[in-house]
C-alpha cells in the first residue's frame, strides 16, 4: 500500500458499498445517543418535574374520588379516567422515552394499548357490563 493513488479508487468503492449497507441507526443516531434514540433523553431536572406533576395529579385523583355523592358519578368517572390518561401519557412519553426514541416503538405501544382498550370495551359492551355498573 505504498502507492496511495493506486489504492484510493478501490477504497472509495468499498466505502460506497459499505455505506449502502450501514444500519439505519447510524443514519439517525447522533454521537452520545443510545441506540434507537432520535434525540437526547430528558435531563434529571425534567424527570423530577414530571414526578412532581404525577404526584400532584394523583393527589387530585384521590381528592376527586372523595367527592362521591356531591357531584354526579359520571363526572367523577370522566375526571378520574382523564387524569389517569394524562399520567399514563406522561410516564410513557417522558420516562419510557417514546418522545425521543424511534417512532416505530411508539407505534407498537399505541397499537397494543388502543387494541386492548377497544377489544375489552367491545367485550364489556356485549356483556352489558356498563348497565350492571
Amino acid at each position: 500500500m505504498s502507492d496511495t493513488t493506486d489504492v484510493e479508487p478501490k477504497s472509495e468503492s468499498v466505502i460506497e458499498r459499505l455505506e449502502d449497507h450501514l444500519p439505519a441507526r447510524d443514519q439517525h443516531s447522533a454521537p452520545g445517543l443510545l441506540p434507537g434514540e432520535v434525540s437526547k433523553h430528558p435531563t434529571p431536572v425534567q424527570y423530577v418535574t414530571i414526578a412532581v406533576v404525577l404526584v400532584v395529579i394523583t393527589a387530585i385523583e384521590v381528592a376527586v374520588s372523595y367527592t362521591e355523592g356531591t357531584i354526579p358519578n359520571g363526572l367523577i368517572v370522566v375526571l378520574l379516567l382523564g387524569m389517569a390518561g394524562v399520567k399514563f401519557f406522561l410516564v410513557a412519553s417522558w420516562y419510557m422515552h417514546l418522545r425521543t426514541d424511534q417512532p416505530m416503538f411508539r407505534r407498537f405501544f399505541i397499537i397494543g394499548s388502543v387494541a386492548a382498550v377497544l377489544l375489552y370495551f367491545i367485550v364489556l359492551l356485549s356483556l352489558h357490563a356498563f348497565l350492571e355498573i
Partner: protein, 243 residues
C-alpha cells in the same frame, strides 16, 4: 483496525462508521479481498461488541428494545383482559363477602401508589447516571428503585392480609377472584422487576455493567415503567372509580 481472522462460515464484523470516514486504508483491510459485494454485510446477525444488540440489523431498530416493546404491547392485552373481567364482576348482584366499597382503604393504597410512582423516578435517574458514567449513583438509584418496589409489594401483602381478615378470599366471590388475580398478577410483574433490578445492581458492583451497556438498564426501565403505568390504570379503575 486489525485484520480479523476469518473462520469458515464466520460472519464479517461490521466496520465502525468512524473507520469509514477517517481511515480508508483500515476499511480496506477489514474486507477480505475474496468477498463479493453481497458478502460485505452478513445477511443476518453480527458481532455485537458494544453490547447494544443493535449491530447488523437492517430495520434500524434496536433488537432488545424492539423485543421489549413487542412484549409490552402484548402485555397491554394481557392486563386488559383481567381489568375487563374485574369490571364485569365487581358489582354483580348476589355475591357473598364484602364489597369493594367496604374493604378498600384508599389512603393506604394511595401511599403505595405514590411509592411506585417514585420508583419510576429513581429508575430514570439510574439510567441517566449510568449514561453519564456515574456508576456509584447508578447503584444508589437502582437499589432505591428495587427498595421502593419491595415496599410496594410489602404493602400489597399487608392489604391482602387485611382483606382476608375481613372475609374476602379468592374463592369468596367473583369480585374476590377477579381482584386477587388482577392485583396478584401485577404484584408478580413487580416482583420479577425487582429481581431484574437487583441483577443489574449485582452486575454493576462487579464492574460488569459498563456505560456501553446502558441500554440494558433502559430495557429494564421500560419494563419497570410499564408496571407503573399498569398500576396507574388499576389504581384508578379498581380503587378510585365509584361503585
Amino acid at each position: 483496525m486489525a485484520t480479523t481472522e476469518q473462520l469458515p462460515g464466520d460472519q464479517v464484523p461490521e466496520p465502525a462508521a468512524d473507520a469509514i470516514e477517517t481511515d480508508e486504508t483500515d476499511a480496506d483491510q477489514s474486507m477480505p479481498a475474496e468477498l463479493s459485494p453481497g458478502e460485505l454485510v452478513p445477511p443476518h446477525g453480527g458481532h455485537d461488541e458494544g453490547g447494544h444488540g443493535a449491530a447488523d440489523q437492517h430495520t434500524g431498530l434496536v433488537n432488545p428494545k424492539l423485543g421489549m416493546w413487542l412484549f409490552l404491547s402484548s402485555d397491554c392485552l394481557f392486563f386488559g383482559a383481567f381489568i375487563a373481567t374485574f369490571l364485569l364482576y365487581r358489582d354483580r348482584a348476589g355475591q357473598s363477602g364484602p364489597t369493594p366499597g367496604e374493604i378498600f382503604d384508599i389512603p393506604f393504597t394511595s401511599a403505595t401508589s405514590f411509592i411506585l410512582l417514585m420508583s419510576s423516578l429513581t429508575m430514570v435517574l439510574a439510567l441517566a447516571a449510568i449514561q453519564r458514567g456515574d456508576h456509584r449513583r447508578f447503584r444508589v438509584w437502582i437499589l432505591a428503585t428495587a427498595l421502593f418496589g419491595a415496599t410496594f409489594i410489602a404493602g400489597q401483602i399487608f392489604e391482602f392480609t387485611e382483606f382476608t381478615r375481613e372475609g374476602l378470599f379468592i374463592d369468596t366471590s367473583v369480585f374476590g377472584s377477579s381482584f386477587y388475580v388482577l392485583t396478584g398478577l401485577h404484584g408478580a410483574h413487580v416482583s420479577v422487576g425487582i429481581l431484574w433490578l437487583m441483577s443489574l445492581w449485582g452486575l454493576s458492583t462487579q464492574n460488569r455493567l459498563p456505560t456501553a451497556h446502558a441500554e440494558r438498564v433502559e430495557v429494564a426501565g421500560l419494563y419497570w415503567h410499564f408496571v407503573d403505568v399498569v398500576w396507574i390504570v388499576i389504581f384508578t379503575v379498581i380503587y378510585l372509580i365509584p361503585n
